[in-house]
Symmetry: none
Subunit: 191 residues, 4 copies
DNA sequence: AATGAATGAGTTTTCATTCAT
DNA sequence: GATGAATGAAAACTCATTCAT
């Protein structure tokens, strides 16, 4: 009785495998079979736990967004100074965890998924809004509200652009360089 | 004989239809049939003119990159002042032509295609390099080489990020606002 | 030990659930899972009790045939008059129990199952023969053997036809009207 | 130019193959592959011409209903006498064409399909109504309207019941016997 | 030059069934 | 006794691609 359910483990394994598979395949045209095989299961099991393929992909997306959210929250904990909070957000957003090639591939894939899947679009918008408001709030401690919002918008777009270029590999700024670019952008804008 | 071949027209029509179809479908999972039907031809004709599907997609990509290149070149023609050249590049890169929803969808799709198709990757890298060197060269007229390069990298990433966010629609900066954001970024970095 | 086994209850519950599920689904393409869930058990239990899916379906069929047989026998008990016995058979065959939508759906489904499953075919033939001989025997008390047999054959087919039409719902004769039609048929044939 | 299209041929071939396949398989759980193979084509072609599997099945149904309708109309042509018209309808409905085993299997299958597919249900209802009104109209020439309607309803159900029993094969009345049973029914009811 | 016809290969999805616990 | 876990097998359906005409 109370046999410990393996569902959470399986879901985690499958999500991890999906990220790898998306990276290996280079997009969302991974097959459920590829994902499952990579996780060591049969394709049928993926459907058993996630329903349709898109549900699995959405679960992956939620995982990534959750990871980023948790990392950001952890970095912000206890930090009061506005400028330091900005740096913490950048450190989380552009940190090595986000810059892992597989993670970047997955992000890019989800940008495309968002084009046709409303739920994916909603999730991505939540991410945008959260990043923006996090940045704007922190910046508002060291600059007027309006400027803070504008700088935040620029910084957010810059971060996404750096993801994109890094996702293409080869000669794109790495995690550290990326953070420095955004820091420089913000420093310059703050005057 | 010497009947003017209709091939170029057909190719252009198919490429235009492909862009629209990618936008309508929200990604590269358009079918050759959808593209051909939209252009008013049979799917077989697409193969006749382009070979495989990926070849058609690469042709679309080349078209888009060529358009952007020509527009940039036109904007730069006769402009000598460094700062003005920067503005001209931005105007071309972020102008209304590039911000048309269908164009953005296609760009995004090609970012994903580049993940798995070496030729697509190469084309995209060429674009990066060209944008970067255009910007860096122009900036080098008003700032030291090293700074120019760094600012150019940031501006390039910023442009791509703005594409991305606009592609997701909804509350993202429009063409004009986007240009202003990048101008502000550069102005701030130039001090 | 000697714990009263719950097996008979479980089997009955599963059979009832199967009838409902067949009705809800509109045919034999119910899944074992649907049936089991409806009964409140796991799909595995259905196999535990019945073996393969077809065995479960055959059990359902036997149940229905048994119900009808018992009802007919009860109606005939103590009735001696030939004409009255005919009416008793009709009352049982066309009574409300048989005209319940779910029952009709199940019957229809079994007609189809009989097309490919020999055991189902055998069961259905037993039903035919029993209905026919019941009717013919009763009619033989008020008409010559040969005529009795012919009238019985017609009445039997008529009953099945009424099932069929009622199964399709909508403007088909109800239980009472159905009985009256068959009574009229027999009355007319008897002169 | 004006290359003669083979579509009608293919559709006919596929429909014929479907009827055979339904008979061979004993129900609607034929696969598209079985049908196509029997017709000598690939499964993909069936989808090409019919869309989904259910559309193919509906086409089969329409074919059968159309055949019956045409045969009935042909039998009625030029016949004025009410009683003779009734016989013509019966001859068409219970004639050898309808009593071919494969045809019967298909009919039965469609009864089940009608349980879950609204279009199939509608088609079957059309058949009912047409048979009923044909019979009732003919009978109305030799009996009062009300009686005609009632007798027609009985005869219609009887026909369907005979289909059903014949579909199960073995010891069921054949085409000729079936017609005689219905004729006897009607003769008796007409007094 | 252009296309209807045709298909092979592949993908998602479903499900009966098995089995260890 | 009962079930969650797992899967093999199969089905519908899609699509890029080929080819004869």
């Amino acid at each position: 009785m109370a046999r410990p359910t393996v569902e959470p483990q399986r879901r985690r394994a499958m999500i991890g495998a999906a990220i790898e598979a998306i990276h290996a395949q280079g997009g969302l045209d991974v097959t459920v079979g590829q994902i499952a095989r990579r996780a060591g299961f049969s394709p049928a099991l993926a459907h058993h736990y996630f329903g349709a393929k898109d549900d699995l992909l959405l679960a992956v997306m939620r995982q990534l967004l959750g990871d980023l959210g948790r990392e950001t929250a952890a970095g912000l904990r206890g930090v009061r100074d506005g400028r330091a909070r900005v740096s913490a957000i950048l450190a989380a957003s552009l940190g090595p965890a986000q810059f892992r090639p597989a993670t970047l591939s997955a992000w890019l894939a989800f940008y495309e998924m968002a084009q046709r899947n409303p739920q994916a679009r909603r999730l991505l918008r939540v991410y945008f809004r959260r990043l923006n408001s996090n940045l704007a709030d922190a910046l508002a401690r060291v600059a007027p509200r309006a400027a803070a919002r504008e700088i935040a918008a620029g910084a957010g777009a810059l971060i996404d652009g750096l993801y994109l270029r890094h996702g293409l590999g080869h000669a794109a700024p790495d995690s550290g360089a990326a953070a420095r670019i955004v820091e420089a952008h913000i420093a310059a804008r703050l005057g």
